[in-house]
C-alpha cells in the first residue's frame, strides 16, 4: 500500500507547509512587487515599414477579457469587469504595450465596447487599435450589414481612425474558403470599400487574419504581387508546433514556416496569433516540460512559446489574450526585452514539439459546444481527465512501463472521480451529434473509442506483482 503511505505523507507534508508557511513567505517575495521595471523602455518594439509605427512586440489580445465572476468573458455570460479591464490596459500602456487587438464578435460582442472605454481614457496617439470586419455569418454578407458592423466599430472604440483593420478569419467557411471570401468581401465590394477607407485615412493599415484554406492565403498574396492591392500586414497562427507540424495538429492547417516565409519574402509584417496554440503550449506533458526545464529551469513554459513567436524579425507583434493581471505581468517579463532564441534553443523546441505530438492529447479546450450529449456523456470532462493524466505523466500504454501500477490507479480512480460511471466514454454510441459542434473539429466518437479502449486495457491488465 505504498500509495496509502504516500497519501499520508502528503497530508503531513501539507500540515508542515501550513505551519512553516508564515515564516517562508518573506524570503520568496521578489524585490519589486511585480518583478518588472517601472517604465516602457525595456519593452521590445518593432517598426511597421509602411507607417513607421513603433509597435510593442507584445500585443494585447482582447478576446478573453475578465468578468465580474472571475472567469473570462469568452466562455461565460457574466458581465465584463470594466474596472479590471481599465486597470490592465493602464498597466499595459505603462509598461510599453501599445497594440490592442479586438473584434466586433469577441467576448460575445462586448469586447470593442469595453476596450473603447478603457483606451479612450488615454491620449489617442499612445496606442494602436486593431479590429476586424467580422461578417462571418452569411446574414452579414450583404454590403449594408457589413457596413453597419464597420461603422459600429468606430462608435464602440470611440475613435475616428482604426490603426489596423483586418478581414477577419479568411480561409474559413462552410462553403469553402474561396466562396466565403467572395461572399464576405469581394462580391459585395467591401474589400474595395476598405481600400478606399485606407486611402481616406480612416484606416491606417489594412490586412487580414488567416485560418484554414491555403488557397485563400495564396490568392490574396498573389493579388498583392500583382499590385492589385497592398497588404500592410497579415495575421497568422505561429508557434513552435505549427511551425513544421501544423498538419499533425489539424489536417486543414498549413505550416507556419510556409506562411511566415511567404510574408517575409514580400516584406509584409506578420502579426502572430495563437502563439500558445490555444493555451496548450502553456501546460505541456511532463516529458516536454522536462525538455524545456533542461534549457532553463527558471523560465516559464509559456515564455518559450512567446520567445519563439517573437524571435523572427518579420514579426510586428505577438498577440496574447489575457484575462488576469498575472498573465499580463508574466508576459511583460518575457517581452521586456524579448531575448531571441538561438539555434540550439530552436532545435530544442522542435524536439519538444515532437514530444507534444507523440502524446495523443485531445485538442479539447472544454468550450462545451458539444454538450449536452443526447446519451448523457460528459464529453469535456472525459477529455479533460484523459489530458490531465497524459500531462501529469500518469499514462502508461503497456504493463511493462515502470509507472504502470501508478498510472493505472490514477487513471481509473480519477476517471470515476471526474466523470460519473454512467457518463463515461464506454457509453458513446457513435451517433455523431457532437461532431458538427466542435470548433476544434475533433472526431469525438473516435476519441471516445480510443479513451474507452485505453480504460479497458487498464482494467483488464493487472500490474505485475512485486
Amino acid at each position: 500500500m505504498a500509495t496509502r503511505r504516500e497519501f499520508l505523507k502528503i497530508l503531513s507534508a501539507g500540515a508542515a507547509l501550513a505551519l512553516g508557511g508564515c515564516s517562508k513567505k518573506g524570503d520568496e517575495a521578489p524585490a519589486s512587487a511585480d518583478g518588472l521595471s517601472s517604465g516602457r523602455e525595456s519593452m521590445t518594439f518593432r517598426t511597421n515599414p509602411t507607417t513607421g509605427d513603433k509597435v510593442s512586440l507584445l500585443g494585447f489580445g482582447c478576446m478573453r477579457l475578465p468578468t465580474v465572476s472571475g472567469g473570462s468573458a469568452r466562455s461565460g455570460d457574466a458581465a465584463i469587469d470594466q474596472e479590471a479591464v481599465n486597470a490592465q490596459v493602464d498597466f499595459a500602456l505603462a509598461h510599453g504595450v501599445n497594440y490592442f487587438d479586438t473584434s466586433p464578435v469577441y467576448c460575445r460582442g462586448r469586447s470593442e465596447h469595453a476596450v473603447g472605454i478603457a483606451l479612450s481614457r488615454h491620449p489617442r496617439d499612445s496606442y494602436f487599435i486593431a479590429t476586424k470586419l467580422s461578417n462571418q455569418s452569411p446574414d452579414k454578407w450583404p454590403r449594408e450589414a457589413s457596413m453597419a458592423i464597420y461603422e459600429n466599430s468606430f462608435r464602440e472604440l470611440r475613435t475616428d481612425v482604426i490603426d489596423y483593420m483586418l478581414l477577419h478569419a479568411v480561409g474559413m467557411g462552410e462553403k469553402g474558403g474561396m466562396e466565403t471570401l467572395k461572399g464576405r468581401y469581394l462580391d459585395n465590394g467591401m474589400l474595395d470599400f476598405l481600400l478606399e477607407e485606407r486611402s481616406k485615412g480612416r484606416i491606417r493599415n489594412l490586412g487580414f487574419s488567416y485560418h484554414g484554406d491555403i488557397a485563400v492565403f495564396d490568392h490574396l498574396l498573389e493579388r498583392h504581387d500583382k499590385r492589385e492591392l497592398k497588404w500592410d500586414f497579415v495575421q497568422i497562427q505561429l508557434n513552435y508546433v505549427d511551425w513544421r507540424h501544423a498538419k499533425e495538429v489539424n489536417a486543414r492547417n498549413t505550416n507556419a514556416e510556409y506562411l511566415y516565409g511567404e510574408l517575409s519574402r514580400r516584406g509584409i509584417p506578420a502579426i502572430i496569433m495563437e502563439p500558445l496554440l490555444g493555451g496548450r503550449l502553456a501546460s505541456l506533458n511532463f516529458r516536454a516540460i522536462e525538455q524545456l526545464k533542461r534549457l532553463d529551469p527558471m523560465a516559464s513554459i509559456a515564455s518559450w512559446a512567446f520567445r519563439f513567436a517573437g524571435t523572427r524579425p518579420g514579426v510586428l507583434t505577438v498577440l496574447s489574450g489575457m484575462t488576469y493581471m498575472e498573465h499580463l505581468q508574466e508576459n511583460l517579463r518575457t517581452f521586456s526585452p524579448l531575448k531571441p532564441l538561438g539555434k540550439a534553443e530552436l532545435d530544442a523546441l522542435e524536439e519538444a514539439a515532437q514530444t507534444i505530438l507523440d502524446f495523443p492529447l485531445v485538442p479539447c479546450n472544454t468550450c462545451q459546444y458539444c454538450m449536452p450529449c443526447p446519451y448523457g456523456l460528459d464529453i469535456p470532462a472525459i477529455f479533460t481527465h484523459y489530458n490531465k493524466c497524459l500531462n501529469e505523466g500518469r499514462y502508461a500504454d503497456s504493463v511493462t512501463d515502470a509507472n504502470y501500477r501508478e498510472a493505472r490507479r490514477a487513471f481509473l480512480v480519477g476517471y470515476d472521480r471526474a466523470v460519473p460511471k454512467l457518463r463515461q466514454a464506454d457509453r458513446c454510441v457513435g451517433c455523431g451529434e457532437c461532431v458538427g459542434h466542435c470548433p476544434q473539429r475533433i472526431d469525438i466518437p473516435d476519441q471516445m473509442r480510443r479513451i474507452d479502449r485505453y480504460a479497458e486495457m487498464l482494467k483488464t491488465t493487472f500490474p505485475r506483482e512485486g
Binding site: 497519501f7 502528503i10 462545451q368 472521480r417 451517433c431
Partner: protein, 559 residues
C-alpha cells in the same frame, strides 16, 4: 487454598501443572480469550466491510474456518479440526471464532456494567435445541440452505456486517477519498453506498437485534438453545478433555461462578459444569475467591499436605457432584433471575416469526432497484433516466457457481460476495427460496472479464474458485435482443455499443433488412459464444430497460 498448594511436599506430577492454572492463570486465560475473540470479531467483520480488497486477499481464511461454510463446502479437514478442538478444549470455536458468539459476549458484557452477577444456572432446553438442529440438518439435506441460513451464526453476522455496518464504513472511506482527492492523491477511491434492498437490511438487522436482546438479558442463551452449531458442538464438548472443573473440596458454594456464567451452565449448589453448554469464555475462573474452579483436564487434586482432612471428604463430594447433573435442579436456579431463560425462549421464537413476516413483506417492498446514476444533471448534461432491471425468466448466478442448484444448495447468503463485488453486479435475491443468495443484475455494472472476486471469497463452495483465464469461457447465461426497444431497429440510429463491448465477440452487427446492406445495423447474438456477462445490457443506451438483456442458465457451461 494457594497456601495449601505451596506446601505440597509430596510432589505428584500432576500438581505443578494444575497449580499454574490457579488464580493468576485464570485471569491470564480470560484475558487471552478476550483478546483473541476481539481480534477475531474485528477481522471477520473487516472482511465484509473492507473496500480495498486487501481483506479478501489476506483474511479469506476467517470465513473458511466457519463451521457451516466448512460443512457446505465439504471441507472435511476443517470440520474435523473444529470437532477435534472441541473434543480437546470444549467450545473454543464458539468462544473465539464465531463472530455472532463474540458479538453476544460484547452485548452481554455491556449489560453486565449495569447489572452485575445477573446470571444463574438453568437446565438445558434439550427439546428446542435438538429440534432446531434437526430442522437445520433437514433443510440442508433438502438443499434449502437459504432457509437454514436464518440460524447459521456466521451468515447472520455476514448479513449484518454487509447491510448494516458496511454502509458506515463506506461513508468513512468516501470521506477519506474526498480528502485524498483534494490533495491529488489516489490512495482512496470513493465507493457506492447504495442500499441493496430493504429486505436485505431488515433480514440482517432483525435477527441480530433479536440475538442481541437475548444476549443483553441472558448471555449466551441463543448459543445454547437455538444455534445449531452450538448444539452440535455441545454434543461433542460434553466429553471435552479440558473444561472448567470445580474442586468440591475447596468450593464453598458461594455461587459467584454461577452468576458470572453467561452460558448458565454452572450449577454451584451441586458443583457441576455442563460442558456441553460451556463456551469457554473463562469468565468463571477469576471470580472464584477460593481458587476452586479451574480449566483443565482433571480435577484439581487436593494437596498432600491437607490430604488427611480433605481426602476423607472427597468421596462424598464426588458422589454428590456426580449424581445431580442427570436430574433436574431448576430449584437451585431460583435464587436469581435466571429462570427467565425459559420465558426468553418465547420472545426468541416470536421475533423469528416477526422477522420471517418482515422478510416476506420486504419482497414486495424492495422492488425498485436503485440506480446510483443521474445525480448531477446540472449544466449541459443530459438527464439520465433510471435504469430498471428487466424481468428475467431465469436468474443469473455468478460464474463459478456451476449451477443454480449448486448455489441454492450451498449458499448461506452471508453476503461476502455481494458486498465485495467490485463491479456492483451482485444482489441478494428476494425470492424466498433463494433468500439473500447472490444473483446478477446489470444496472450499475457488468460482470467484468478480469474479475474473479466472488469466486475467490466464497467460503461454502457455492461459488467455486475460478481462474481469470477461465472466466471468459464460462457461460452463465445468454443475451436476448428486443427489437421493439433497439435504437437502430426503431430510430435508425447507428449504435452497436453492445457489439463494440462484447468480450466474447458474440454480437454481430448486421443489416436489419438482409436485402438492403445500407439499412440500419442491428445486433445478432451468437448464443453459443455469448457468456452472459451483461456488458451489452449494461452499456445499451436504451432506458429504462435495455434493448438487450441477459437470461441466466440453470447449469453453467464451458465454451
Amino acid at each position: 487454598m494457594p497456601d495449601a498448594m505451596e506446601k505440597s511436599p509430596d510432589g505428584r506430577p500432576a500438581a505443578p501443572a494444575e497449580k499454574r492454572v490457579g488464580m493468576k492463570g485464570a485471569q491470564v486465560l480470560r484475558r487471552v480469550r478476550i483478546f483473541v475473540a476481539a481480534a477475531s470479531l474485528a477481522l471477520t467483520t473487516f472482511l465484509f466491510v473492507d473496500v480495498s480488497g486487501a481483506a479478501g486477499r489476506f483474511l479469506n481464511w476467517l470465513a473458511r474456518i466457519q463451521f457451516v461454510p466448512a460443512i457446505l463446502s465439504l471441507s472435511l479437514l476443517t470440520v474435523a479440526a473444529v470437532l477435534l478442538v472441541t473434543f480437546i478444549a470444549g467450545r473454543a470455536y464458539c468462544s473465539v471464532v464465531c463472530p455472532l458468539g463474540i458479538w453476544q459476549d460484547l452485548v452481554s458484557a455491556t449489560a453486565g456494567r449495569f447489572r452485575k452477577q445477573r446470571f444463574a444456572h438453568a437446565p438445558p432446553l434439550w427439546r428446542l435445541r435438538l429440534a432446531v438442529l434437526a430442522a437445520f440438518v433437514l433443510l440442508l439435506l433438502l438443499g434449502l440452505s437459504s432457509l437454514a441460513a436464518f440460524v447459521d451464526p456466521y451468515s447472520v453476522w455476514g448479513r449484518f456486517s454487509a447491510h448494516v455496518l458496511s454502509p458506515f464504513w463506506r461513508l468513512g472511506n468516501n470521506g477519506l477519498a474526498a480528502a485524498s482527492e483534494r490533495v491529488d492523491s489516489y490512495a482512496f477511491a470513493a465507493v457506492d453506498i447504495a442500499q441493496k434492498g430493504l429486505g436485505a437490511l431488515a433480514s440482517a438487522a432483525v435477527v441480530v437485534l433479536a440475538v442481541s436482546v437475548l444476549a443483553w438479558r441472558s448471555g449466551r442463551l441463543w448459543c445454547n438453545s437455538i444455534c445449531p452449531v452450538g448444539t452440535l458442538l455441545g454434543l461433542v464438548s460434553r466429553f471435552a478433555v479440558l473444561r472448567p472443573r470445580i474442586d468440591a473440596s475447596a468450593c464453598v458454594k458461594c455461587g459467584l461462578c454461577e452468576r458470572a456464567c453467561g452460558a448458565s451452565c454452572i450449577d454451584a449448589q451441586n458443583g457441576t459444569v455442563d460442558a456441553g453448554r460451556c463456551v469457554d469464555c473463562m469468565a468463571c475462573l477469576p471470580v472464584c475467591r477460593k481458587g476452586a474452579i479451574h480449566f483443565g483436564a482433571g480435577p484439581l487434586r487436593p494437596d498432600a499436605s491437607g490430604a488427611a482432612s480433605s481426602a476423607s471428604q472427597k468421596p462424598s463430594e464426588e458422589a454428590s457432584s456426580a449424581a445431580p447433573p442427570a436430574k433436574p435442579v431448576s430449584a437451585s436456579g431460583g435464587v436469581n433471575d435466571g429462570r427467565n431463560s425459559d420465558s426468553e425462549k418465547v420472545p426468541a421464537d416470536a421475533s423469528r416469526r416477526a422477522f420471517v413476516a418482515a422478510a416476506l413483506s420486504g419482497v414486495g417492498a424492495a422492488l425498485a432497484a436503485g440506480d446510483a446514476a443521474a445525480k448531477d444533471a446540472d449544466g449541459g448534461l443530459a438527464p439520465l433516466q433510471e435504469r430498471h432491471s428487466p424481468q428475467r425468466g431465469t436468474p443469473i448466478v455468478p460464474p463459478g457457481a456451476m449451477s443454480a442448484a449448486n448455489l441454492a444448495r450451498r449458499c448461506t447468503g452471508c453476503q461476502l460476495c455481494v458486498v465485495n463485488c467490485p463491479n456492483d453486479v451482485l444482489r441478494p435475491s428476494r425470492d424466498l427460496k433463494r433468500w439473500m443468495q447472490p444473483e446478477l443484475t446489470f444496472e450499475n455494472g457488468r460482470c467484468r472479464p478480469e474479475c474473479t472476486t466472488c469466486s475467490s471469497l466464497c467460503p461454502t463452495g457455492a461459488i467455486r474458485p475460478i481462474r481469470r483465464a477461465e472466466k471468459s469461457s464460462i457461460q452463465i447465461g445468454h443475451a436476448v435482443w428486443n427489437q421493439a426497444l433497439c435504437l437502430p431497429a426503431q430510430g435508425g440510429i447507428a449504435c452497436g455499443n453492445c457489439a463494440r463491448h462484447c468480450p466474447a465477440g458474440a454480437i454481430l452487427m448486421a443489416p436489419l433488412d438482409a436485402a438492403d446492406a445500407s439499412s440500419p445495423k442491428i445486433p445478432m447474438v451468437d448464443t453459443e459464444r455469448c457468456i452472459g456477462c451483461g456488458a451489452c445490457e449494461y452499456l445499451c443506451p436504451v432506458r429504462p430497460v435495455s434493448a438487450i438483456h441477459v437470461e441466466g442458465h440453470e447449469v453453467h457451461r464451458a465454451i
